[in-house]
């Protein structure tokens, strides 16, 4: 069973990570900006899931559904983005004229 004190510790860790994300958003990270921000968000989400949502207290496989959602989500987003970035801009077919 998790002690009351632990919930406060997790909260302060969440606040610290929030501050870290905030600070790093002003740093010149370039292409790393997105992965870093999302990685910290994932860390915060994990803390909320493990402690506030009680996953760490039980041996029951509730986490399995969270993992499944995460996998499906990743698949959805990766497939959507890789599709859309490879599309060419729309062009009228040869022989048509644009309306005046």
């Amino acid at each position: 069973m998790v002690r009351t004190r632990t919930y406060f510790l997790v909260f302060f860790a969440l606040l610290a990570l929030t501050g870290l994300t905030f600070g790093l958003s002003f740093a010149p990270l370039g292409a790393l900006e997105t992965p870093v921000a999302l990685a910290i968000a994932c860390a915060k989400g994990l803390l909320v899931a493990l402690f506030f949502m009680h996953l760490i207290e039980t041996r029951k496989p509730y986490w399995l559904f969270g993992l499944l959602a995460l996998l499906l989500m990743t698949l959805l987003i990766v497939l959507m983005v890789t599709d859309v970035v490879k599309r060419e801009p729309r062009r009228a077919p040869a022989g048509t004229t644009r309306p005046a």
Binding site: T4, A37, I40, F65, L76, I77, M80
Partner: protein, 202 residues
């Protein structure tokens, strides 16, 4: 027939309830995942417009709202903890506190929306480029959907606060409180991803 029918006992009934809640949370996550995917796909082709939009976001309000929701999650888990220590009336006060934090979040969101409306930026119009407009359209849709979830969460917390005296300290004595708490934490986690995408990634 035991009170936990159709389950053999309370422990199995509680396990089934928690399982069902996690399945529901997974489906709610997919609901938002579709919109996060849309954000990624649109931003991939309009990165400059999105960055412009992020620079227009009200960083102070967004950050304050992040801290408010994190605090509300702490308060909700402390309410569960209070019931586990056989203090249901303390739990009731904590749940009301979480509701107040949720209402504060919504009020700040309202202030934010009104600032944008005053500048003429509404869903579908007002931005200076197509990319920036897409950013703001998504901003209204995703934070609006999230706000609806916060409203539903506040109603749930209110219902739980009313029922607080009926919760007992045993593992299976406060399952509705646990489940309602799980929903609130999911709403918090969704915001933890909305915040960097709409406020930080300049």
């Amino acid at each position: 027939m035991s009170g936990a029918f159709p389950f053999e006992n309370d422990a199995r009934s509680a396990h089934a309830a928690r399982l069902g809640m996690w399945v529901f949370l997974a489906s709610e996550s997919m609901f938002f995942a579709a919109l996060f995917g849309l954000y990624a796909a649109l931003r991939a082709n309009h990165a400059d417009g999105f960055r412009e939009g992020v620079r227009h976001a009200e960083l102070a309000i967004g950050t304050a709202n992040t801290a408010i929701l994190l605090a509300s999650s702490l308060v909700v888990v402390l309410a569960v903890d209070a019931v586990r220590h056989a203090r249901p009336l303390l739990a009731r006060k904590l749940l009301v506190g979480a509701m107040a934090l949720g209402c504060t979040f919504l009020a700040l969101k309202g202030v934010e929306y009104s600032h944008h409306f005053t500048e003429g930026i509404v869903p579908g119009a007002g931005a200076t480029s197509q990319g920036e407009q897409e950013y703001f359209n998504l901003y209204y849709i995703m934070t609006g959907l999230h706000a609806l979830h916060v409203v539903a969460g506040i109603i749930v917390l209110g219902w739980l606060a009313r029922r607080a005296p009926t919760f007992t300290h045993q593992d299976e004595g406060h399952v509705p409180l646990e489940l309602g708490g799980l929903y609130w934490h999911l709403v918090d986690v969704v915001w933890l991803f909305l915040w960097p995408l709409f406020y930080l990634m300049r």
